[in-house]
Point group: C2
Chain length 161, copies 2
DNA sequence: TACATAATTAAAATGAATACAAAATTGAAA
DNA sequence: TTTCAATTTTGTATTCATTTTAATTATGTA
């Protein structure tokens, strides 16, 4: 077993999760795709290359176990599916309406930083914040397109929502 | 037609939504349940009393139309269903893990207030913020229970998650 | 009233997530 | 190593929210 898997094994043991092969590979995938916020489908698809018989149910079970133990964060932004984030600390996300990617975004927030935990008697245990808009890359490439030609603007500039 | 429905008719017309009877009743329901953040099912269930043949699809269609025209806000917090809010302005929500209710919550936020719209080149168009925790009422009733008897605490104090 | 357009309806389809039961794997005890 | 109970994985079936589709009905205008 390679060094990294040994490291992941320790992480799971520390959280009280029995480290099976599929769980290790799922954890490995998540660590390799920290920025991607993958769906269950994406994780399953990719792992099938290594483990041709891994079932979708196992990926669901594993991610739910990881969630319960606070190893990952489940993010629902699109409304249709949960995206998973190995960084389980409170932080904000940004969904680009143009290219669909979800990225971490750092903003000042007293709640996410745990400085404030009660509002009018309501005890806050989880903080969820996200934005929707046009990411920097899409904004830039749109600018470039309109600079080159204005004819195609109405077509290419169409946001998909 | 009563005065209120006339008022709702104007609201729909102003947004470019043809005011049909079902749409008016859905809007009326939403205005009567501003604090409830109802699901599609809840709206449909209730409207069936007035309009026994109203279809679930119509409620879906109507809410989607309202969403597109910015008349309502669709809030996905539980992960399983969309809750609807007639107040479409950017504001935060709070889900109580104990009793399940979703309430509006007012917190200082430069993004929700529209003061800041760009972060590292990413253009923010929508701001979504919500919290999960224990609401004031559940916190208080828990305190009362433990004050009266400690025996039942482990049972009654169990949060459902 | 007639007509075209839009809305409503019911039924079927989709898609994410869960439930369930059987088979396989794990790890500890003998 | 063998045994065995507990846990995990697998595959299938099911649930539930939402969307799609196609037919019917309502709406507003000429």
């Amino acid at each position: 077993m390679n060094t990294k898997l040994k490291y992941f094994k320790k992480i799971l043991n520390d959280r009280g999760i029995k480290p099976t092969y599929q769980r290790l590979k799922i954890l490995e995938y998540l660590s390799k795709n920290m920025k991607n916020h993958p769906t269950v489908e994406m994780i399953h698809e990719e792992l099938l290359k290594d483990i041709p018989i891994i079932s979708l149910t196992t990926v669901y079970n594993t991610l739910n176990a990881f969630l319960e133990k606070g190893l990952v964060d489940g993010v629902t932004i699109t409304g249709t599916e949960t995206r998973y984030d190995l960084d389980a600390s409170s932080h904000h996300h940004f969904l680009c309406k143009e290219c669909g990617k979800i990225i971490d975004i750092e903003v000042p927030c007293a709640f996410a930083e745990g400085e404030k935990t009660v509002v009018r008697g309501n005890r806050i245990e989880e903080v969820h914040g996200y934005f929707k808009g046009i990411c920097k890359e899409c904004t830039d490439s749109f600018k470039n397109k309109t600079k080159k030609s204005n004819i195609s603007r109405s077509k290419t500039g169409q946001p998909n929502r």
